[in-house]
């Protein structure tokens, strides 16, 4: 298992290199840090030179990439010009923590609710509950995240206060003053983050449980006198976990990398918002650090999923 993990890690290195180089190159072509100075009347040639020097714009792209990558892997991400010269690592810690405040509850709720609704829907196929879950899932799959987030804002920040006279949740900003304020500010973004992913997870788990439900080995278990409850909790559940790991690993990569949309709509100072800020400020280095961090995260979760498959599914042997 250890050797397998190591091998996968090595195999991921070229993927990482090509992916990051592609992003580095593309971004360098498009994002020009000197843009900011073009409209700036008072800025001097010195400021211009400083930017050229800072982003090494006088060198060609592969050289810049190599020097940048060297810094990245040695853990030196430098300081972020657009964030008041604070060290990037410090910003990452802060923004990363903020993203986690949303992502962790969303992830655990997502796992629980996805499995619960998917399994329920499959076991009670064509029941009223299945109809309800299926209909909501379809809606979730058809709604862009930003629209769902705005919809929540309209309902909970405009209509509920207007007609009921109470404002149960914050519609924007992070409030950490007290646990209650935290819950009030985290609820809507967490639901937004979860909803679209949940719809997909629930459908996917439902489909795989439907397959498993009619599998021969389930009939075999019944034929040897295993009780219905145990058929589900042991034979069915264990097999349903295998495909679930796939969706959960993708969810984790999507959530923990920060959500551009949700964090923008709810003005949440997380990792995703940081990417937008960096883009708007034309801060190439920061944008690169963010992209690289997200790619590393995706590769890590893929690896984790592969290892989990090996644990759950004996047919997958890593040696």
């Amino acid at each position: 298992m250890f050797i397998f993990a190591l091998r996968r890690l090595f195999a991921a290195i070229p993927v990482f290199l090509v992916a990051t180089f592609a992003i580095f190159w593309g971004t360098s072509e498009i994002v020009d840090p000197t843009d900011r100075l073009a409209t700036c009347q008072t800025c001097s040639q010195a400021a211009y030179d400083r930017i050229i020097d800072l982003y090494e714009l006088d060198k060609n792209v592969p050289l810049r990439y190599a020097s940048w990558l060297g810094d990245f892997v040695t853990g030196d991400m430098g300081a972020a010009t657009s964030q008041g010269e604070r060290p990037v690592s410090e910003i990452f810690w802060e923004r990363g923590r903020n993203t986690m405040l949303l992502a962790l509850p969303a992830f655990f709720l997502l796992m629980g609710l996805g499995a619960a609704t998917g399994i329920y829907s499959a076991l009670r196929q064509y029941s009223k509950g299945d109809y309800a879950i299926t209909s909501i899932s379809y809606l979730g799959l058809a709604m862009p995240t930003f629209f769902f987030g705005l919809l929540l804002q309209v309902v909970f920040a405009i209509w509920v206060p207007k007609y009921l006279g109470v404002k149960p949740f914050w519609a924007s900003g992070m409030h950490l003053e007290s646990p209650l304020q935290f819950i009030r500010s985290v609820t809507l973004p967490v639901i937004t983050l979860m909803f679209v992913l949940l719809a997909g997870d629930s459908r996917f788990i439902r489909a795989s449980v439907l397959d498993i439900k009619s599998a021969d080995y389930i009939r075999t278990a019944r034929a040897k006198g295993v009780s219905e409850r145990k058929v589900i909790s042991k034979h069915l559940f264990r097999n349903a976990m295998i495909p679930a790991v796939t969706v959960w690993s993708l969810d984790a990569a999507a959530l923990f990398g920060g959500s551009l949309i949700t964090e923008t709509i709810f003005s949440w100072p997380g990792f995703g918002r940081l990417a937008i800020e960096a883009l708007q400020a034309g801060d190439l280095d920061l944008l690169m650090s963010i992209s690289f961090a997200i790619i590393v995260l995706v590769i890590m979760f893929n690896l984790l999923a592969d290892i989990l498959y090996g644990v759950i599914d004996p047919r997958i042997r890593y040696d």
Partner: protein, 320 residues
């Protein structure tokens, strides 16, 4: 590396691998209990019957036709064009003259919504066709030739799977997002992975089939086999893929526009309309809700059609 592609992408395919249409009674899979003789009917006829069975898909098709007519024909019946600014009637609520109200520049929101709808649908179709075409080319080459070619394409797919799609779209959206066709090409260039995987799998199966072997034995060249023998057999799944990708494209396009990186003013898409209205959400929530609801209805309709098509093309994946 191949398995990584298959596993992580499998989610995407299977996620919608189910449908909402519910038969009148619980369906029994007799074939599972005991193989049963089937009534011989033509394949096309069977596929059409299966499609028709999905009432929601019929509703979805009708809805899309209605919206398309409204988007393209509707503007001819309006007095004010989507670009016309009328400073005397700025930021108004719905009225007889302006059923959806007006925006901050006094432009008629109904006209803008119809214009936005046109662009959103157009971008969706161009993206879906373009993306599926790339996927088909890569997928069929990978599946047909196998070996190093397959490995190389798999590597590209893996790299693209690792890159955060939305982030790349946003970075590149600044450059390419200005015109609808370039938005479509940009999304299309990044969204072909699922199609490639699907086609590769099908080609792997098809190329072992007798009619392909026979063509090869008769001396047909690879290119000819792919174009004449393999692709025609993929039409069904490609149709499904285009449909589902159109839904994905609308989501991505509207998201991009929402972040202000899509089609630029004075032109507009449904996502841009929502972005424009975001600031006045507490005063006039309908400005957000109307285009949002239209986007949702379009995607819902597309997904219903896609599921029904998939069931029609491949009965195994349908009703369980």
């Amino acid at each position: 590396m191949t398995d990584m592609l298959d596993e992580s992408d499998a989610k995407y395919t299977q996620r919608t691998n189910d449908n909402l249409t519910i038969p009148d009674g619980p369906d029994i899979d007799f074939a599972a209990v005991e193989g049963l003789a089937e009534n011989p009917e033509s394949l096309g006829r069977q596929a059409w019957d299966r499609f028709r069975r999905h009432r929601l898909a019929i509703v979805g098709s009708a809805m899309l036709v209605f919206l398309a007519i409204a988007f393209w024909v509707g503007p001819y019946f309006l007095d004010q064009g989507f670009e016309e600014i009328n400073v005397l009637e700025r930021a108004q609520g719905p009225s007889v003259a302006h059923p959806f109200g007006t925006d901050d520049l006094g432009r008629d929101l109904l006209a803008r919504t119809l214009r936005g709808g046109q662009y959103s649908l157009r971008i969706a179709i161009v993206t879906a066709v373009f993306s599926t075409a790339i996927g088909t080319v890569f997928g069929s080459i990978a599946g047909y030739f196998g070996g190093a070619v397959d490995g190389a394409i798999n590597f590209i797919v893996n790299v693209l799977l690792t890159i955060p799609l939305l982030l790349v779209l946003i970075i590149f959206g600044r450059q390419f997002g200005a015109r609808p066709n370039t938005v479509a090409l940009l999304i299309g260039a990044l969204a072909w992975l699922r199609a490639a995987r699907l086609v590769r799998g099908q080609v792997l199966q098809l190329k072992e089939m007798e009619f392909v072997q026979a063509a090869r034995a008769a001396g047909a060249k690879s290119g000819r086999i792919i174009v004449r023998h393999l692709i025609p057999n993929l039409v069904g799944i490609l149709l499904v893929e285009i449909t589902l990708l159109a839904g994905t494209a609308i989501i991505l396009e509207s998201t991009l526009s929402f972040l202000g990186l899509g089609v630029q003013p004075p032109d507009t898409t449904l996502g841009t309309l929502i972005a424009d209205a975001k600031g006045s959400i507490d005063v006039r929530p309908s400005r957000v809700l109307i285009p949002g609801a239209i986007v949702t209805i379009i995607i819902l309709s597309i997904n219903f059609i896609g599921d029904a098509l998939r069931d029609a093309v491949d009965p195994k994946s349908g009703i369980e």
